[in-house]
């Protein structure tokens, strides 16, 4: 058996593929825990750090909302061009992706409905701009009213109704040229 160089991958060849075992550069990171007093559980430390950071989450969501409002304003001013569509999608996608992490899962869902329609509508030009407004307004309302007594229920109902609208738009009820396999919405669990 040939000597394997320390920093060279170990390659085994087969008829139509190779199996490569690269040098393991990460084994340097393994250690025995509990040796020193400074040996804190990393997961606990990270969770505490994230908790400390969370005081900023609401203001961050406000910023994301402002970006979505600006994107919506551009769409109204310039129409649904490639550029305005991309800006709108990116703003909605950011809220969809980060909303739950920042503590606003229903805002994420509402933005997700807008993303679905932008991505999957057969003819975006036939999607009423009122739908864009409804999504942006819903996200803003969910964030603004978060301290309200009925905030969770209201947010859930808003997200649910937008999901139904998106299902109509993507599924074909409001769009006769919809593709055969429109993207179905995943089930929405109550908040």
């Amino acid at each position: 058996m040939a000597e394997i160089k320390h920093d060279a991958p170990d390659v085994t060849k087969f008829v139509d593929h190779e199996v490569i075992v690269p040098p393991n550069r990460l084994k340097k990171a393994l250690k025995r825990a509990g040796i020193s007093a400074d040996d804190r559980d990393p997961l606990t430390a990270a969770e505490e750090a994230l908790e400390a950071l969370s005081v900023q989450f609401e203001s961050w969501m406000e910023e994301e909302c402002t970006a979505l409002d600006e994107a919506r304003r551009l769409v109204h001013a310039q129409g649904l061009t490639d550029a305005t569509q991309q800006t709108l999608f990116r703003a909605a996608h950011d809220i969809k992706g980060h909303g739950s992490t920042l503590g606003f899962p229903m805002a994420a869902d509402a933005a997700g409905s807008l993303c679905r329609v932008i991505e999957h509508a057969a003819d975006l030009g036939r999607v009423p701009l009122t739908f864009v407004d409804q999504c942006a307004d819903a996200v803003r309302a969910i964030i603004r009213e978060r301290d309200d007594v009925n905030a969770d229920e209201t947010a859930f109902e808003l997200a649910k109704s937008l999901r139904a609208l998106a299902d109509d738009l993507v599924g074909g009820a409001g769009n006769t040229d919809a593709p055969a396999e429109a993207a179905p919405g995943p089930p929405l669990a109550p908040a």
């Binding site: 991958p9 085994t12 087969f14 008829v15 139509d16 593929h17 190779e18 199996v19 490569i20 075992v21 690269p22 393991n24 550069r25 990460l26 084994k27 340097k28 990171a29 393994l30 250690k31 025995r32 825990a33 509990g34 040996d39 990393p42 997961l43 430390a45 990270a46 969770e47 505490e48 750090a49 994230l50 950071l53 961050w60 910023e63 994301e64 990116r90 996608h93 950011d94 969809k96 992706g97 980060h98 909303g99 739950s100 992490t101 920042l102 899962p105 994420a108 993207a183």
Partner: protein
């Protein structure tokens, strides 16, 4: 008890949203890492990858210039850079099966759907360090072995000629304990 010394790991975070970069940075520093580099888009991410030679890459999917999928494909070009084997964690707001499969087939090591949590990120990194997977190079694919489990009653087509089994790798944890 064996633990990961995050102080020994260098991370590269590629994410266009500043708030998400802040969250990832906070989590990684919280885990104990002291080297966390960042990039705002795919192009800057590729440049940073070449410059900093990170141990682990965490990349978003949707980004300007070119996205996380394209970035992964560029990194995974065998012979194109210093470390095409680098573990890549793909973050995404999309969690549909076809997206996960596309990311897997592009060569990502782990997929993490948003919302992210300290625990979910930690578990992905732990798995990368403790259970490194061999790479497969074929005509149509170069990346981590996509077979993670053995299915006893599999009846589908066998796409690999030769040794078609799941390649057993002793977890690094066991090697260290031995």
């Amino acid at each position: 008890m064996i633990r990961i010394d995050f102080n020994r790991l260098r991370f590269l975070v590629i994410e266009d949203n500043a708030h998400m970069r802040r969250i990832l940075r906070t989590l990684l520093y919280g885990f104990g890492s002291r080297e966390v580099y960042e990039a705002e888009d795919g192009a800057a991410g590729l440049e940073a990858f070449v410059h900093y030679v990170p141990d682990i890459v965490i990349t978003d999917w949707a980004m300007p210039i070119f996205d996380g999928l394209e970035l992964t494909q560029m990194i995974r070009q065998p012979g194109a850079n210093a470390n095409p084997y680098v573990p890549i964690i793909m973050l995404s707001g999309h969690s549909e099966k076809k997206r996960v499969i596309a990311a897997r087939d592009a060569g990502v090591t782990e997929f993490l759907a948003k919302p992210i949590s300290a625990k979910s990120l930690y578990q992905r990194i732990l798995n990368i360090v403790i259970n490194p997977r061999p790479f497969i190079k074929s005509k149509s694919y170069f990346g981590p072995d996509r077979r993670r489990n053995t299915v006893a009653n599999y009846t589908g087509p066998e796409r690999r000629k030769g040794n078609a089994d799941v390649i057993d790798q002793q977890p690094l944890l066991e090697k260290v304990k031995a």
